[in-house]
Symmetry: C2
Subunit: 139 residues, 2 copies
DNA sequence: CTGGATCGTTGGTGATACCAACGATATACC
DNA sequence: GGTATATCGTTGGTATCACCAACGATCCAG
């Protein structure tokens, strides 16, 4: 596609192009499953944290609270998660992943595995490991 | 911010997080200059290609034609580029970077340099070189 | 009891990326 | 010359992720 010399070796440019390609593949794969990135992120957090308030979900995933609301509306509508009032604090809901949600999440993990393989196809095993290490260091 | 174990070592996840951080810094830096990513991309392409049609700009930058129109409206409005009818083909405009545009582009290059340094700060020189090489290979 | 903080919700915006449709123009072919 | 197909620039639209503001309800410390 683009071949602008001015940016060809700029790390931020290369990062954005690589990310764009990866996200496009991932978005397509998720779309085929009827979900988006935010859905996956919330399900993953619920699976890992156990029942949590919406604000906890927002903090643990980095997704804005208002986007947690909208995404969770979908998940609850699909019966992948449940929302109950918190008996301890009336301001809160407690969100729980359902068995359906857990199953669905496992399916999405498999989708993710395929996308990793597709995105990283051109790299050697050593390069993949180096990429992961370096990107993690950028965190 | 987020610490989801499920995705912690997924290359696509690490890539999206690293990119998000880089783009946030870049967007802020560009915003302080009154431009966006697309503006920079079009200016860079004009500088490199010389006068070009809008469709050529779209193809060389990967920016959709309709987004080229909107972005170019800004650039022309700021007198960073000029749009003239192509005498050879009445369907086309020929777009040219202005002297103001060239000067502005040089300023944005400096901004980009600073952002690279900020984004890549945590890495050693060797790691930076490896990152560039690997990301370029993903292209 | 008051002030400040937190929660969930509603509503909004922006950047990037992408798509559809249309009138004007160009070109190859019959 | 006419027709079919392609290209151009424009207008209009959508989606996703990311982020922000405001508000009523609730909680808690002083």
């Amino acid at each position: 596609m683009t071949s602008l010399q001015r940016v060809a070796n700029r790390p931020t440019w290369l990062l954005s192009r690589a990310n764009a390609r990866a996200q496009a593949l991932l978005a397509d794969a998720f779309a085929a499953e009827g979900v988006r990135g935010y859905h996956f992120r919330l399900l993953a957090a619920l699976d890992e944290l156990g029942p949590a308030s919406q604000a906890e979900l927002a903090r643990s995933t980095g997704v804005d609270r208002s986007d947690v609301v909208a995404t969770l509306d979908d998940l609850v509508g699909w019966r992948l998660a449940r929302r109950d009032p918190d008996p301890v604090d009336r301001r809160r809901n407690i969100v729980t992943i359902t068995a359906r949600g857990t199953t669905r999440l496992a399916g999405l993990d498999a989708v993710l595995d395929e996308v990793q393989a597709a995105v990283l196809g051109p790299l050697t095993a050593g390069e993949r490991a180096a990429l992961v290490r370096i990107l993690a260091k950028l965190g």
